[in-house]
Amino acid sequence: MKLPISWLQDYIDISDYDVEALAHLLTMAGLEVNSIQLVGLPMPEESTHEFKISGLSWPKDKFVVAQVNEVLPHPDADKLTLCRLVDDEGEHIVLTGAPNIYHLKGIGPLEKPLKVAYAKLGAELYDGHQPGWVLTKLKKAKIRGVESSSMVASEKELGISEEHEGIILLPDDAPTGMALAEYMGDAVFDIEILPNNVRNACVYGVAREIAAFTGRALKPLDLRYEEAGDSITGQAMIEITDPALNPRFVVGLLKGAQTVPSPYHVQRRLRLAGVRPINAIVDATNYAMLEIGEPLHAFDYDILTRRAGGKAPTIITRTAAQGEKLTTLDGVEHTLEDYTILVTDTAGPLSLAGVMGGLESEVQDNTANVLLEGANWNYVNIRRLTKKEHITTEAAYRFARDLHPSLALDGVKLGLRYMQAWAGGTIAKGLVDNYPLPYSEPVNTLSVDFVRARTGIPAITAREIADLLARLDFHCSVSGDTVTVTAPGYRKDISEGVVGKADLLEELTRLYGYNNIPHTRLADTLPPQKPNFGFEMRNRLEDLLSALGMTQTISYRMTNPADEARVLPEQSVLDDSHYVVIANPSTPEWTVMRRSLLHALLKTVEKNSRVDERIAVYEIGPVFLPVAGEKLPNEEHRLALALSGVRERGSWNRAARKNDWIDFYDLKGVVEAMLQLATAEVTYEPAEHPSFHPGKCARVLCGGVELGVFGELHPQAAEHYTFGKAPVLAGEFDLVKLIEALAPKRELVPVPNFPPVLEDLAVVVDEETSAAAVEAVIRKGGGDLVTEVRLFDIYRGAQVGAGKKSLAYALTYQSMDGTLSDKDAAKIRKKIIGRLEYELKAKLRE
């Protein structure tokens, strides 16, 4: 909400506050000031500012009120005029091209001199001829032979509005020579109005908050006006169809008004508040709304009468028929839903209740008789309409936040008062006030113990509670240690019961000052602490992978099916039934929640393939798998790993070997290291997975439970990404199973006290025989005394013959009971060899 602070001064004296102090006061009260725009007032002096401040200051010696006594023709330019004016220093001749005084040119000394905003030599102001806000400084210059070093200013030049059609003409009583900042300097606060704070979306609401927080006197609203016309009774009738949707409807009648412009200060304040001035009638409705927060609507009474066939109009409020149409005053035709509340008359719809007036019955250029509406509406219906039709109006903004019905009456009175003052006319006696559903103010009881226990304010008394709440107009009565509190008759955000008490605690602590509450440590019982195995193991897994040289990444969880299909060779796009689908995606890139963490990680590899020659990354996170018959998807947490690039980075003394890329066994090494301390035996089996090379893909099992798969990316899948030359190795694991496999359950294997026997063994086997099979046979043959089997060489070639390979192992024999002799070792070796020959037809290679 934009609020010119000069307006506050009408209701509370804040003249001793500088703009920042005032903004601070409001912010700490919960009315956060987002920014301050200076319109004349001086910039606060401190170099650091709590608030974003922009705009223009009008130094007192550079900007003053001046009086133009005569408008003279320019000797050499027909469109320009010369003002003979007086300021605080004397008489000056000032050049201007303002069209709004052009008609006074050459008529001699003015009978009614003009009051203008005068900027002197050296003044800094906005360039009126340039778009946007460009600062310029007044310098001595000659324009067509006439010296020009000062100017009479427009609103744009002073930073008040975009208005640059003519110069500002101030009221006649503006004191000549007075500093302009003193006369009408202002600052506009942009205040954040919280959703439950609609009562403060107006000048009077903000003034009331300042009064509550400073203890200063709030001037009462002046709702008086003269009722000189006939009684309104019989001139307008109101029928409310559903009081739950329209609890109150008030109208007043003004006859004989004129559609003249409003006084200058009204127009200026409206512009500063972001509302366009139209004429005195319309401006009065807007001005009253900005002042006390009740949106008003002015109907042309004669049009209503005409629609009623010449009789007194009857206003009927009802919901729309499904599909009913209405064209609003912005020219848009709306097709309405049946929850839309309409203001109608006997001839049909007039306006969207609480949202926007209709085109037909709005105030015209020649309107003289005005029926002024102030009403109260159910916020839910207003909100549904504005959401559906995407309408944002000042009225809808306020009604959608639930206004108090008392404002309808005050609003009409204030509106009539201003309308008559600025547009003239005669106000009919009385108002029509149809109020079928009166709102009763909630009453709550607070005990001192409750307040102390919830706020932590230790010694607060019933009297202090009552005094604090009374500052915001709560009616409080104290009885012993309890305070009975009735909410003021202008707000609807206070409930009853336990919620009402919380509402009151909020107001109480706000007034007490959040920052005055003593800071304490939790003294309440510590809850029972529960195991959190999955969470803790996940942290350990992250640490483990980082220790293995892997960098953790976090990707966007949204994707689109076509993009995700890249992870498969044939790129078959899954239909939406496989996905959690976003109903309102922000971009076509992000239409569903991901199913593949592997794909997300491959995108990271893709992105970095030109950034780094060696990539080692992992990601842990959920994938989202819809479950038939369930509302929510299965959020399966996974681990994805990827490696790609050079095995070793080149160094000053270690040249990078060409094409020495990371391969399957590097990734397998990471997986092995990760699972080194697994709870059960970890085994690797050849696996088939569409994303991976059919010959370079393994399944990992721990105690027979599959944990995941990894391998070299299938070349056809890899083609769908922009990778570097190196193959990409990747894998995807089930996080829950992985974490179970890594549970810290291992029992210690005692460290032997006797020396081991080390020996090498090379065997020739068929090419098809797997290394795992050879190792298994070695272990079976050697029994428990074989404690380590390490493959250190594989040889293929002429020496072993075609279709054969030689595997060389370093074996460790170790007994816990004593030192093994050469004879013992030979015995073990013999058993191993016998097994290998028998089971694998292996031959010892000497």
């Binding site: 700490m28 009260a29 919960g30 956060e32 170099s47 500012h49 709590e50 974003k52 919280l194 959703p195 439950n196 916020y379 959608a400 919830r454 706020t455 336990v498 919620v499 919380a502 909020e506 602590t509 959040y514 920052n515 800071h519 440590r521 939790l522 309440d524 019982t525 510590l526 809850p527 959190n532 969470f535 992978l545 980082s546 220790a547 040289g549 960098t551 953790q552 990444t553 976090i554 969880r557 959690v580 689908v581 976003i582 109903a583 309102n584 922000s586 929640m593 995108k603 990271t604 992105k607 970095n608 950034v611 990539i615 080692a616 990354v617 509302k631 929510l632 998807p633 160094s651 270690r654």
Partner: protein
């Protein structure tokens, strides 16, 4: 003394002088070995003097023997001393010739790391764990009824405008806009025990992705429920957190705010820890940084969670680990976080 006597003794003295002179000329261990062979070996003159001792007159023998011993010992001592000098000199020469350029780069093992958000989350977990808060997690795809309804956002309430929501094609299901649905889940899980948890996790809001706003972001939420929890406890707990997360003398301030699920509600600012409140670019010259929203759990939320709001009270607070990371490391563009550029990630 006879001439013979004098002759032998003089010869021994001459040998000593000659040998010591020769020793000074030795340059390396080979010279020393040759010297030892010559002056202390079996054929050396001193050794010969011992051989000749039996030919000498018996009364002269002690004198000559004494002298020969004296010379032999002197030569051995000189050898030991000079040998040590030669060894030291050789070592010096060898060290001097074996000098590395220590400014050449070392051979680094590949270093992995946690994502910066994880690092910040871990710090938050650690601080709150020491205050008795356990981590509690819930899902990212959530029911509208829990994300909003159970948290006291009635349908059509203006507070729903505060959070722009990603909905799914099932109108009852959305991407959680905050971690607060975890409040409901935690209450249902812990009821009727008191609660002290933190709720971390990814949240989603319909935003344009810019340097300052993201469609997905982490939140960490605090939830305390008990029979004796005060607003003062909330402020004190947050202050303790701030003193550990930032600096021990960081000031805090609370401003009234509105959240449907807390009342009273507040926004908490910390004094800018970059400039100490004097004003800088990070705090936009205000001296304060807005870091979290908080408040006392709303009675309706307690009731929805199974706790009687007349008996129980509680507080909640929510903060963004990405924002805290950005403030701590002067990161000015939030898009780095999920961009996964290794040049970003490897700076942490």
């Amino acid at each position: 003394m006879t001439e013979e006597q004098t002759n032998i003794l003089d010869q021994l003295e001459a040998v000593r002088a000659e040998a010591l002179e020769a020793l000074r000329g030795a340059k390396d261990e080979n010279d020393l070995l040759a010297w030892r062979a010559r002056y202390l070996g079996k054929a050396a003159p001193v050794m010969a003097a011992f051989q000749q001792l039996r030919n000498a007159a018996p009364d002269l023998r002690p004198l000559i023997g004494q002298k020969a011993n004296e010379v032999k010992n002197a030569l051995e001592a000189a050898l030991t001393e000079f040998g040590e000098q030669v060894k030291q000199a050789r070592l010096r020469a060898s060290l001097a010739g074996d000098k590395l350029d220590v400014t050449l780069p070392g051979r680094q093992p590949e270093r992995g790391r946690l994502h910066p958000t994880t690092q910040t989350l871990r710090e938050i977990y650690r601080i709150f764990a020491e205050m008795g808060f356990q981590v509690f997690q819930s899902t990212e795809v959530e029911l509208d009824e829990i994300n909003y309804g159970k948290l006291n956002f009635p349908l059509h309430h203006p507070a729903r405008d505060m959070q722009d929501t990603f909905f799914t094609t099932d109108p009852d299901v959305l991407l959680r806009t905050h971690t607060s649905p975890g409040q409901y889940h935690a209450m249902r899980h812990f009821h009727p025990e008191p609660i002290r948890v933190i709720l971390p996790g990814m949240c989603y809001r319909y935003e344009q992705v810019t340097y300052r706003s993201e469609i997905q972001f982490n939140q960490v939420e605090l939830l305390v429920v008990g029979e004796n929890v005060t607003f003062g406890d909330l402020i004190g707990t947050l202050e303790d957190f701030v003193h550990r997360m930032f600096t021990p003398d960081t000031h805090i301030r609370l401003r009234p705010n509105y959240f449907p699920f807390t009342e009273p509600s507040a926004e908490m600012d910390v004094e800018c820890f970059i400039c100490g409140g004097k004003g800088c670019q990070v705090c936009k010259h205000s001296g304060w940084l807005e870091i979290l929203g908080c408040g006392m759990v709303h009675p309706n939320v307690l009731r929805n969670g199974g706790y009687d709001p007349e008996k129980y009270s509680g507080f909640a607070a929510g903060m963004g680990p990405e924002r805290i990371t950005m403030l701590k490391h002067h990161i000015t563009d939030i898009r780095y976080f999920w961009g996964n550029d290794l040049r970003f990630l490897q700076q942490f």
